[in-house]
Amino acid sequence: MNTTTHTPALKEWPLWEVFVRSKQGLEHKHCGSLHASDAQHALQMARDVYTRRQEGVSIWVVPSATISASEPNDKGEFFEPASDKVYRHPTFYVIPDEVGHM
């Protein structure tokens, strides 16, 4: 009997990122992460943890290890060049009144 090895579950269970789509929303939004033994397990846990206040109508779980992320160190070259290009926002157009809200 394998009763002597008590590895904490969290060390054996991989991490999953949880995305929930709300009733009004079109897209799934990242809302947190959790440890689970497999995808099905992660889905059920996400249901219990992240949708108990009617937050959502659909859940995605993604193994955290499969996500490639930008490096904080790359912030300068990745994001700062955009900061002085205000002309990329469509804020310089005059919208005719007839168009109404857009």
């Binding site: 009997m1 394998n2 009763t3 579950a9 969290l10 959790l34 440890h35 689970a36 033994s37 099905q40 397990h41 059920q44 846990m45 249901r47 219990d48 943890v49 108990r52």
Partner: protein
Amino acid sequence: MNAPVDYLLHLADNALVLGQRNAEWCGHGPILEEDIALSNNSLDLIGQARMLYQHAAEQIGNGATEDTLAYFRDVPDFRNYTLCELPHMPLMAATSKGDRDFAMTIVRNFLYSSLMVLVWDQLQASKDTQLAAIAAKSLKEVRYHLRHSRDWLLRLGDGTDASHAKAQAALDQLLPYCQEFWTTSPQETAALANGTGIDMATLQTDWNQIVDEALQEATLKRPAAGGFVPTGKQGLHSEHLGFVLAEMQSLARQHPGATW
């Protein structure tokens, strides 16, 4: 047409007592997510109990409310299955202290949910329209309880040697208590007679199938039938219910009418 009060209390007491038991995990779950899952389960059950008590209280009148029914009745008045009141630890004297065993929790929730998906499904056709509505709402909840507990049953049974042994031990202890499902109590007979209840005997084949399929997948062995048949739904309980009620009712009894 209203279901007999004792029949509503039987359904309500099952939900309240098991809800109270599962709430014992609140803050003590094996992992955070499971802590929340068991609390969710508990709140579903207590919500079901509330609706049933409110329905019963209307018929009882005389100032009866959901609170008087939950907090000011004593052990012999409760009509829950003995299964629902047992502690989460392998069976022992009620005054002994032991560690909660997650396998006991899972096996019990699985056995009870397997029954209630069938009960609530049929009660949707009850001649008591309010009970039928409660059944429709409860069915959705208990379907998830079954899914949750069945999933864990498979993981424990078909997991490590240690988890398999615990799941098998829990099953050996708890399955005999399910024999109470198939005996008939006066309140069930009365409910069946006026078209508000159901014939429990007709659910046995389906229940066996749900249980046996899961046990097979979980590589667990079904213990032989037989032995003592519990009588909780007739008000004759194990020594454990008194301790459950003592804890659950103490606040309401010390501070009657307390609100916050």
